[in-house]
């Protein structure tokens, strides 16, 4: 577990995050270690405030850790500056945010097209339209985010994340504010796309049920890993 470098795709080594607040130093994450193999699906389970979003942010290179390192496809993120990490992100990473993060001035279609445009991929419109149809928003393409419901915004955000065919997709509470039926549809969609594109899926959730669908489960409590389980759905766990 310590020598193999190439058999893990995403790896956290002694990862820690502290922030200075008025009340003193706050530890958000402490000594996080795990490895994730390519093409698998991982759930990061934890209560609200346990540090899930913080962890995803570090893994995706959106933030820098206070201690430890993140290895992403054999690249040590600490070796990169912001622009370097941006390039890695462009290369590898898709992100579905807890609060969707659609740009309010852009239509659903344009939001999905945006990463394709920035990466100068051919036929952005066609690809975006296909994806939006795929997530069931074929009729809402010209609508602005504030004209969409929360679930629709979430699906739009997923379409945007998948438009780049990322090798890793981070999804932060993808069903957080959705009813269970819509939540189920979204999860299905994520797994479908994950299977189709061979994407590594890393999902933060507080829903134990959802976490059981994944190949691997990482349980966080107050910034520490309290449990790591492989194939949680089959009850096969180890320390």
């Amino acid at each position: 577990m310590d020598n193999a470098v190439s058999n893990s795709f995403v790896e956290a080594r002694h990862l820690g995050k502290h922030v200075a607040t008025r009340e003193g130093v706050l530890t958000l994450l402490d000594d996080i270690n795990f490895k994730i193999a390519a093409g698998t699906s991982v759930a990061i389970l934890g209560a609200s405030g346990s540090g899930k979003t913080t962890l995803l942010g570090l893994l995706a290179g959106l933030d820098t850790p206070s201690n430890g390192t993140v290895i992403l496809n054999n690249n040590n993120l600490n070796d990169f500056d912001e622009d370097g990490r941006a390039m890695l992100r462009a290369e590898l990473v898709g992100f579905v945010f807890q609060n969707f993060q659609l740009l309010f001035g852009l239509t659903a279609l344009e939001n999905v097209m945006l990463p394709l445009e920035l990466a100068q991929l051919p036929h952005p419109r066609k690809k975006a339209e296909e994806l939006l149809k795929r997530v069931g928003l074929g009729e809402r393409m010209q609508h602005y985010p504030n004209q969409l419901s929360g679930g629709e915004q979430q699906r739009c955000a997923i379409a945007r994340a998948f438009s780049m065919r990322p090798r890793i997709l981070f999804a932060d509470e993808p069903t957080g504010n959705l009813d269970s039926k819509t939540g189920k549809r979204i999860i299905d969609l994520l797994f479908e796309l994950n299977a189709e594109q061979g994407t590594t899926l890393i999902m933060a959730t507080h829903d134990a049920q959802i976490s059981r669908l994944c190949d691997q489960l990482i349980h966080l409590e107050a910034g520490r890993i309290v449990e790591q389980v492989n194939s949680p759905g089959k009850g096969n766990s180890y320390e």
Binding site: E82, M87, F95, Q98, L118, N146
Partner: protein
């Protein structure tokens, strides 16, 4: 495992930036993000180009006006006939040429000799402007394109009175006899003060030899008049200027009439002021909106970073987007500027006469430079800070980039804009006063606003609920409120400033040429006729005719040294020392004169030989305070000590004297008296009787000239009103921008408060309280700073009298409150009328 794929490292070509930046521009435009930025830019560019075009025209108008004052584009004068050498040269250059010869002579009517100023003119005279003539002394006048035909002369009306002659009579000039064919009413290039010159006789130059008047040694002023296309005239002008032979001199229009120039110059200055203000205002609007723009694009930037765009990509995309915007807005501004100046020149058509100058490249260039400078200067710094937005921003809103400290940069931008404006307006004093004033005002506004807000904070506890809510809004974010008060204050300040300057300027003009300003001069009244003439006018319905005495005198010595024309180089000085001075006496200084040096005399000084000189005359003759000027008065020599210098407002048609002495010095000398009266058309009919009753008295009619001046001034006033409106629009744009800058927060807060159960009425009252306070505060500050700026401008730029008063501050408070409350509630109304959910839903990223 493969490493980074080449696709991600792919170089971003020009095509990408081009397409992506246009796409961003279009999307922001569609979302209404760019409206105020664009409006601000368009206003700035429109103002600067309109004024550019217009200044060009005024400049040309002035040139034409001055050309009219010398009846040519260029004139060379000399005492010697060899000045006619220029004729050949000018003809070779395809210029139009005319010649004149001027000299004094005596005509004999009914055996009464009369001194006259003869002017013999060639066919094309005048090359610029036109003569006006009439068939009898006081009848309707008309423009003529011709000159007297051989054997005819045209004469000034007063000569007819003096000679007791009429149209069709003959007069003898030298060896020839001429027929008086017309009354000469207006001669464009007649220079000098109107009532000390002998009357004019205009004749055809072809008749001159036969009169035998031009003998060797006669004092003749030869003139060659030249006119032609502007640029070649200008270069010829330079050529001649540097190669004048001894005794030759270029004629400049300053020797002519200054009345119109002052009005036009003030108009030009006002337009410059207005442009300056609208450009700076628009700059403030752009700056404050740009900030909001960048705040609203934090999310976009962070998202771009999340999606893998590098800092450089983000800078380049936003810079390009701004560049496109500034190019589009500048183009629109240039077109609007051209239209605006078209409207102005339509208002001024008769002033600017015939030629339409082509739009100058300079104005267009300036327009684009302003647009680009303004947007890059004001909008780019906050946008550049966007590149530092950490991608983490999408996860945690409190993580934003440090705002760039942009004060220095803003200052630099203001400086650059001032330079551009200086290039355009060309009046350093004006640009410096206004820019400096505005920057200073900004600082003062900011500090005072901050203090006032602190004070408000203390008052809060004692207010009702709506007030508490409103005042809390203001003091909760002091920095934001200070910015708002400053922006409001600035907007209101310049509106007040401009309206004050405008009305003062217009009033000043009106005052200088009131409807019933004297339109006739009555000269040559003898001492024993004073009472009779005054009574005569009283009977005609003209009260209070003030009579001014004048005694003719010749300057003989200065500080004991004999004066001669040879001591002076300037034609004017030579002219002055050889001609007679009119010494007048007075107890007190005339109202429209201003002491420049030395004291006016006291009662004790009456009877002492003191002399008050017009300052320009003193300069020309190189006379200083304390110098002794000796005059020959009717054979007696009198020594006067120069005791003070005065400036005289020659624009007014008031009677003024170059030389004045105290009472009790000249009373025993033979004096004649002058006065000026306003006569309406009915009263003018009776002038014939006056002339018959007092044959020696001469009347000079300036009605024609005054009408012309008045016409021009009223047109210029119109143009000023128009530009004024335009600047007011710019001011409103700033106010609107300022309100917009906090609108997002205000909307969101109100929506949240409504969901928490606040009633619409409470919210409405709260907003009203907030806007009332903001408006009143900024209005008060604006009024105070406008007062001081107007005072500065009046003192240093426009030179009109300004009485410091604080009504401006009062109108500042009132107008500030009204405007801000209206604009504010209009802008926030949607929060109160829409269901709160709509506002809240808009709050996605």
């Amino acid at each position: 495992m493969n490493d980074l794929t080449p696709a991600g490292r792919q170089r971003r070509g020009a095509g990408f930036y081009w397409a992506m930046s246009w796409r961003m521009l279009w999307r922001d435009w569609r979302g209404g993000e760019l409206n105020i930025l664009a409006i601000g830019l368009v206003i700035a560019v429109t103002s600067i180009t309109a004024v550019g075009f217009f200044t060009d025209r005024i400049e040309r108008g002035l040139q034409m006006q001055s050309a009219e004052l010398i009846a040519a584009d260029l004139a060379v004068t000399s005492r010697r006939a060899d000045v006619y050498d220029y004729i050949k040269e000018a003809r070779q250059n395809d210029f139009q040429v005319a010649t004149t010869q001027q000299f004094r002579s005596v005509v004999l009517g009914d055996d009464r000799p009369q001194l006259v100023e003869v002017k013999a003119v060639s066919e094309a005279y005048p090359l610029r402007g036109a003569l006006r003539i009439s068939d009898n002394a006081f009848g309707a006048d008309e423009t003529t394109g011709g000159i007297p035909s051989a054997g005819d002369v045209w004469v000034e009306a007063r000569l007819l009175q003096m000679l007791d002659a009429g149209i069709g009579d003959s007069i003898k000039l030298g060896n020839s006899t001429f027929k008086i064919r017309k009354v000469l009413r207006y001669e464009p290039d007649r220079a000098g003060d109107l009532f000390s010159l002998a009357p004019r006789i205009l004749m055809n130059i072809a008749d001159l030899d036969a009169t035998g008047l031009i003998s060797t040694g006669a004092l003749v002023n030869y003139r060659v008049l030249i006119a032609g296309e502007r640029s070649s005239i200008n270069s010829y002008h330079k050529l001649i200027e540097n190669n004048l032979r001894a005794g030759e001199e270029l004629v400049t229009f300053e020797q002519g009439r200054p009345e119109l120039n002052t009005a036009l110059r003030s108009a030009q200055q006002f337009l410059g002021l207005a442009a300056l203000i609208s450009v700076l205002l628009a700059g403030v609007a752009v700056a404050s909106v740009a900030n909001r723009f960048s705040v609203r694009h934090l999310g976009t930037s962070a998202m771009f970073r999340c999606l893998g765009a590098s800092q450089n990509t983000i800078i380049q995309l936003f810079s390009l987007e701004m560049l496109w915007l500034s190019l589009i807005a500048s183009s629109a501004g240039c077109i609007l500027g051209m239209l605006t100046q078209f409207v102005i020149t339509q208002l001024l058509d008769q002033l600017v006469l015939t030629q339409l100058p082509p739009p100058t490249f300079k104005a267009v260039l300036l327009g684009y430079a302003t647009g680009i400078l303004m947007l890059t200067g004001f909008a780019l710094p906050p946008l550049l800070s966007l590149r530092h937005v950490p991608p983490l921003h999408v996860l945690r809103k409190d993580v934003t980039s440090r705002p760039v400290s942009s004060w220095l940069l803003y200052l630099a931008v203001v400086l650059c804009m001032s330079l551009l404006l200086y290039w355009q307006i060309g009046d350093l004093r004006l640009v410096a006063t206004v820019t400096g004033g505005i920057v200073l005002t900004l600082a003062v506004l900011a500090v005072t606003a901050f203090l006032l807000i602190m004070l408000l904070n203390r008052l809060r506890g004692s207010a009702g609920v709506a007030w508490r809510f409103g005042l809390a809004n203001i003091s909760r974010r002091p920095a934001g409120s200070v910015i708002q008060i400053v922006a409001f204050g600035l907007g209101i300040m310049v509106m007040l400033l401009l309206s004050a300057v405008r009305s003062d300027l217009l009033n000043d003009w009106q005052a200088s040429l009131p409807e019933n300003a004297p339109n006739h001069f009555v000269i040559n009244v003898q001492s024993d006729q004073l009472a009779a003439i005054t009574d005569y006018f009283k009977a005609m319905g003209v009260a209070n005719t003030r009579m001014y005495p004048m005694v003719r005198a010749r300057l003989v010595e200065i500080n004991g040294k004999k004066v001669s024309a040879d001591d002076y180089e300037s034609e004017r000085a030579r002219h002055l020392v050889t001609r007679e001075f009119n010494l007048s006496w007075a107890e007190s200084i005339q109202l429209d004169n201003e002491l420049v040096a030395g004291p006016w005399w006291e009662r004790d000084d009456f009877g002492k030989p003191l002399l008050s000189l017009e300052v320009k005359l003193a300069d020309t003759l190189r006379l200083k305070l304390g110098d002794v000027a000796s005059f020959d008065v009717n054979g007696t020599r009198l020594d006067f000590t120069v005791s003070n210098l005065r400036s005289v407002d020659w624009d007014s048609f008031n009677i003024n004297f170059f030389t004045v002495v105290p009472p009790g010095v000249l009373e025993d000398k033979p004096a004649s008296w002058v006065t000026s009266v306003y006569l309406d058309s009915e009263q003018r009919q009776k002038l014939g009787d006056l002339v018959r009753a007092f044959p020696n008295v001469t009347l000079i009619d300036v009605e024609v000239i005054m009408k012309r001046v008045r016409g021009i001034i009223s047109r210029v006033s119109l143009a000023i009103e128009f530009i004024f409106l335009f600047t007011i629009l710019a001011g409103l744009a700033v106010l609107f921008a300022a309100i917009q800058s906090k609108q997002d927060e205000r909307r969101f807060e109100s929506a949240v408060l409504r969901t928490l159960g606040a009633s619409r009425k409470t919210l409405m009252l709260g907003l009203l309280a907030e806007f009332t306070t903001l408006g009143a505060l900024s209005g008060l500050l604006a009024g105070l700073s406008a007062t001081s700026l107007v005072w500065l401008l009046a003192e240093y730029v426009f030179k009109f009298n300004y009485q410091l008063d604080f009504t401006l501050a009062l109108s500042g408070i009132v107008s500030g409150t009204i405007i801000v409350v209206i604009a504010g509630t209009l802008g926030t109304r949607s929060v109160l009328t829409n269901p709160p959910i709509k506002t809240l839903r808009q709050n996605t990223v």
